[in-house]
Each structure stands twice: as C-alpha cells, then as structure tokens.
C-alpha cells in the first residue's frame, strides 16, 4: 500500500469510504457551492473533493491501478487544498440526490489527513493551538470572561450584575462563546442578550472564566482532539443541573446541540439566542416597544439553519417588530448562501471569505433591502468584512441589536 495513504485509511470507517463511492457525479452540488461560485474550480466542489479522494483510493487498489494504469496520479497537495478551502456549509449535502453527508465527510477527511500529517494548513494549526493552550480562540486570558462583565456592569452597559453559575446555580446557562466575549466589535451581542434575559426576569447565570471554548472550530477543521474537549464540556454542563443552555453563536449552538450528543448525552435543552427571544415573546415575558421602520432581510447562518433546522424562530421575532418589513433573499432557508465564514476558510483564504460575504450583501441589495441582519456573531463579522470590501449600501445589524432597539433597552442608538 502507498505509504502516504496507510494512516489515512486506517483512520476512516468503511461507511465513509462508501460515501465517496456513492457519488454519482451529477454535479448538483456544484450549482450552489459558495466557494465554487467565487473560484470556479472543479476540485473545490463536493464532487471534485470526492473525485480527488477516490483517485487517491483508486491508486491503492492494485487491480484497479493495474487495469486503469496509474492515470490518477495521487496528489495530496491538491486534495489537501481543496479539502480545507471549504466552509463546511452543508449546501452540497442538502442538494445531493445520494444524500451524502458531506459536512461530516469533510470533517472526517480533514481529521484523517491530519493523522497522516497532511493538514490542517499552517494558519489553522496555529489557530487550533491557541484553543488548546488558552481554552479560547482569541489568545486571551480566561479571566477576561469574568472581568469584562464586571466592567460592563460598572459602566452601566447591563442592568444587573451577572452571576457565576458555579456559585449561584440557575436553571439557565448563558453560553456566551469566544467571539461574543473577546471580540470587542461584537461584544454588544452578549450585552444585549444579557439585558434581554434580565428584562424578561429569567434566572440565568454564566460560567465566566470557567467557560471553555465549545471547540466547534476544532471539529470543523478536523482536529481529532475535539472529542476529548467536547467530553470535558459535556461533563461540566451536565453537572450544573441546568434546564436550558442558551448560545449566542450559531457555531457554538450547532456544536453543542448537534455534535455533542453524538459523544455523550446532554441532560438539558440547547437554545440559540434567537429561539430564546422567540420563546420569551411567546410567553409574553417581553414585548416590543419601539417601531423600526426598515425593510430588512434575514441571513440564515449555515450552522443554525441548514444544519440545525432553525429557520422560523428568528423570522417570527423580526416579524413581530412593529414597522419592520421582512423581505427574503432569493436564496433563503435551506438554500441560503453561506457568508464564507465557516469551516476555517477565513484563515485559509481570507479574500475568498470576504468575496462570499460581499456576494451575500449583493443578494440583499438585489431585493431592495435596506438592512441585513443575522443572529450569529461570526456571520456578522464576516459579512461586515464583505460590506467594507464592496461598499455595500445595505446596513448590517446583528439580530440582537434589532431586538434591543425594539425593546428599547440600554445600548448604542
């Protein structure tokens, strides 16, 4: 057997090899791939990746390589590049007539390439190393997870102090996530969420410096240590005795809600903050005060929509805001275009990510939306880059900013 492929094959399950064999080559996945739309290279599509993988495999099958000749010339470099130049958005899975579970296949293949020493790319390796050493993806001390909230309260940015769940058990855990904690340009999302929960009188608390990165990025980038880290988080969460975990980021939500239960069962429900707001509205614990006269469109984060099926809750919230007119982009819900921010693409090919985001803003512009909103801090930051790049006239607002304004809560105007 080819030396290079040996470790990879032993790291695969038969089921995963079968998935590659099941590709019909129909090309449905080509039509909607956000990466291919910007860089139209076959190898970047789901079909292209599967073909490259099959070519590597074919070279390992002696009778096949004997019969077909060594025509497929295994090229790990090309395969590696194609495998990581992907947002793991799941669009190809949704349109695939064979229902090949591509996102999981990409993650598994990334992991397997990693085992063989062919990935992840340098930029991602450095990023993953940061998570491993700091328990957050921002290369910052964990203590900031506590101190910034204390400071926010001192500065009057939140209505009441936020309790630590390890000292004051509560039925609801607000899992802020690294981005909404450390990225000062998007921190307002966490403040808005806290203010909404406090306004509704929800008994909630946070983990503060004990909150560890959900490690979702590790999973997307194929880091095999994900399982171990996920297990530690699951044990911590399950021991808290909470009823509900609320996540800000669509990526954290997908990881905790979808990926964790495959490792060990969770003893609580997981809600995305947009679902939480929807529930609070339904329970009449909050009611919108202010009218927002704006034509807005909604961008479905891949991890929230396509991957977890949360499409309607955020839309219902937006529709409930007086004056706000919700319009849909041509590609919405299951077919929503990815902003390019997922799967670690941002680290591997920044330009590509920015162009994908700019394309999404063009979609919003095309339907005459004055504003585009999304409930994921990561998508928001990616879209922001796209907006700056394309000088799009479409105003970008995080979903929680709109909610805060409509509820007339403290925060920037």
């Amino acid at each position: 057997m080819h030396k290079k492929l040996q470790p990879i094959l032993s790291a695969l399950s038969g089921r995963q090899i079968l998935e590659a064999e099941a590709c019909t080559g129909c090309g449905e996945c080509v039509k909607l791939c956000p990466v291919y739309a910007i860089e139209p290279e076959e190898r970047l599509t789901a079909r292209g990746k599967i073909d490259l993988f099959k070519n590597l495999l074919r070279n390992e099958k002696p009778p096949l390589s004997f019969l077909l000749g060594n025509r497929s010339n295994p090229n790990f470099g090309i395969f590696q590049d194609a495998l990581w130049k992907c947002t793991v958005c799941g669009q190809c899975h949704f349109v695939c007539p064979a229902r090949i579970d591509t996102p999981n296949l990409w993650e598994a293949l990334r992991g397997m390439m990693g085992v063989g020493g062919y990935g992840p790319p340098q930029e991602q390796q450095e990023y993953l190393q940061i998570i491993k050493t700091h328990d957050n993806s921002f290369n910052q001390p964990q203590a900031i997870r506590r101190t910034w909230l204390e400071q926010a309260y001192a500065e009057g940015q939140i209505m009441e102090p936020v309790r630590n769940i390890l000292e004051h058990p509560a039925p609801v855990l607000y899992f802020m996530g690294c981005t909404a904690t450390y990225d000062v340009t998007i921190r307002q999302v966490a403040l808005d969420t806290i203010n909404v929960l406090q306004k509704a009188g929800i008994d909630f608390a946070v983990l503060g410096e004990n909150e560890l990165c959900c490690s979702g990025k590790m999973k997307r980038m194929g880091e095999v240590q994900f399982n171990e880290r996920a297990r530690a988080n699951i044990e911590q969460f399950n021991a808290l005795g909470i009823k509900t975990l609320v996540a800000s980021c669509a990526g954290c939500y997908k990881t905790i809600n979808e990926d964790y239960p495959k490792i060990a069962p969770l003893n609580f429900e997981v809600l995305h903050v947009s679902e939480m707001v929807h529930r609070l509205l339904q329970q009449k614990l909050i009611a919108f005060q202010r009218s927002l006269e704006v034509t807005t469109t909604y961008h479905d984060p891949c991890h929230l929509g396509r991957n977890c099926g949360v499409y309607e809750a955020p839309r219902e919230v937006l529709k409930a805001i007086p004056g706000l007119q919700l319009v849909e982009m041509e590609r919405n819900r299951q077919k929503a275009k990815c902003c390019g921010g997922g799967g670690g693409l941002k680290l591997v090919d920044h330009d590509l990510q920015i162009k994908a985001s700019a394309a999404r803003l063009e979609d919003a512009e095309a339907i005459g939306a004055a504003m585009l909103t999304t409930p994921c801090p990561t998508c928001y930051l990616s879209l922001k880059k796209g907006q700056e790049f394309s000088n799009s006239p479409v105003e970008l607002q995080h979903f929680m900013s709109i909610v805060r304004k409509a509820l007339d809560l403290i925060g920037p105007a």
């Binding site: 038969g14 019909t24 064979a98 229902r99 495959k262």
Partner: protein
C-alpha cells in the same frame, strides 16, 4: 423452441459466451474489490443500529421512484428514472434469458417471447428516452455543472450505443423478413422496422449483404455489452450499486446523526 425473429443470420454464440463470461468475471471481481476496500476502513461507524422500516420506505420512495429528484427537477427525474428502470428491467430480462438458456437449455416459449418482446421494448425505450435527455443535456445544452470528463461521456455513449444497436438488431430483421405473431408485441421495434422498410428499397444490396451487416452488428452489440460489464466497476457506473446502498443506510442513520434531513 425457436421462433422466427425475422431474417436469419449468423450468430457466433461460442464467441458470445466466451466474451460475456470473461467480462462478467472481471465485473464481479471489480465489484468485490470495491467492497473489500470499503471494509478496509478501520474506524467504527458512529451509527450502528438499523431501522428496517425507514429503509423500506426509502427503498420504494427514493431508490425506486427517486422522489427526491422529482421534487427538485422534473426533466432530470424523467431522465434518471427512465435510465434506471430501463437498465434494471433490461438487466433482469437478460438474466432471465441467460438463466433460461443455461439452466433449462431452452429458449422462451411463445407467450414468454411475446411478453419479453413487449417489456424488452418498453425498457429499451425507457432507456433510450433517458439517454437521449442525458445526451442533450451534456452534448447540446452543455449544462455548466456537468463535467467534461471522458468517463462521463463514455458512460452515456456506451449505453446509448448498446440500446441503439439492440433496437437495430430487433427491428432490422423484422424489416427484412415476414413477421412472426410473437413479434407483434414488440411495439417500438415494429415502428422502427416499418421505418427501415421504407429505407431498405433505396439501398440496393442483396439479402446476404444484410445478413452480414446483422452478423457484424450482433458481434458488435455483444462486444459492447462485454465492454460495459468490464467498464462497470471501474467507472461512474459503480454508483448504480453504491448510491442505493448509501440512500438505504442514510434512512437508518439520519435520525441518529441528527442529520439535516432528520
């Protein structure tokens, strides 16, 4: 008992059996190697339990009827469904015919021949329709998401050649000799035969020339089917085996893996 299939011509059956047996052996070995390779995957699959009910439902809805394609693109569904049903039907008929000859040492009786004439034409026509749509999409429309790989083109052209030569072998002899009652059910071949009947008088060649043409066509057709069998495991045709398996396994697993289809 043999029926009058139209004009009689030379059919080298020994050649046919030799070529087909070798091709079938290569095909089976090729498929086996795919399976052996799949079982080389060392990791345990996450999803272990089987849901037979979901699999049965998926088998009828998506493997046989291909409802997922119907929902997304009707023309594509027609293409795929026709090729799939035609292919399975013709393969089954060939299997029936071969096992009849090999195991029972007899050709079909009159009723069976008439029945085979009808369903053979039906499946052949279905395949022809599907393949012509595929040909149109790939070579005329040149849809951008379709690859320009030799493998994809070969697959269509190979099947199309098999179906076209197959229909010629059924209809040309009908056009060149009086019809047998059992052939009346071969509805599409009859239409083609009547077209040939119009054309043949314009080609002033002897009957023995036509017999030679048919013999060559017969050998060519059997060679094409042998090439198909050999090509099958090493080409995109292999998805005919693995895509249904994938769909069925997915039916069992999607809930467990909290899939987007679940």
């Amino acid at each position: 008992m043999l029926f009058n299939h139209g004009l009689a011509y030379f059919k080298p059956w020994n050649f046919f059996w030799t070529v087909q047996t070798i091709a079938l052996a290569i095909c089976i070995i090729g498929i086996l190697f795919h399976f052996i390779f799949i079982f080389k995957g060392r990791q345990r699959s996450l999803n272990q339990t089987i849901n037979p009910l979901a699999m049965l439902k998926r088998f009828f809805l998506e493997v046989l009827f291909q409802s997922h394609l119907l929902q997304s693109d009707k023309k594509r569904w027609l293409m795929h469904f026709s090729i799939f049903v035609g292919f399975i039907g013709l393969s089954f008929l060939s299997f029936l015919q071969i096992s009849n000859i090999v195991l029972l040492d007899q050709h079909f009786n009159f009723e069976l021949y008439a029945w085979k004439g009808f369903v053979g034409d039906l499946f052949g026509l279905l395949m022809l329709v599907g393949l012509l749509i595929a040909f149109h999409r790939r070579f005329v429309q040149r849809l951008p998401h379709l690859r320009r790989l030799a493998n994809d083109k070969t697959a269509i052209l190979l099947l199309l050649s098999i179906v076209i030569t197959g229909f010629m072998l059924r209809s040309l002899p009908m056009a060149l000799a009086p019809l047998d009652q059992s052939q009346k059910s071969s509805f599409f071949s009859l239409i083609l035969a009547s077209l040939f009947k119009v054309l043949i008088p314009y080609i002033s060649v002897s009957l023995s020339f036509w017999q030679n043409v048919l013999a060559v066509l017969w050998i060519f057709h059997s060679l094409l089917t042998a090439v198909f069998l050999i090509y099958f495991p090493f080409s995109k045709f292999i998805h005919i085996i693995f895509t249904p398996i994938e769909l069925l396994l997915n039916a069992s697993e999607e809930d467990q893996r909290r899939d987007i289809y679940a």
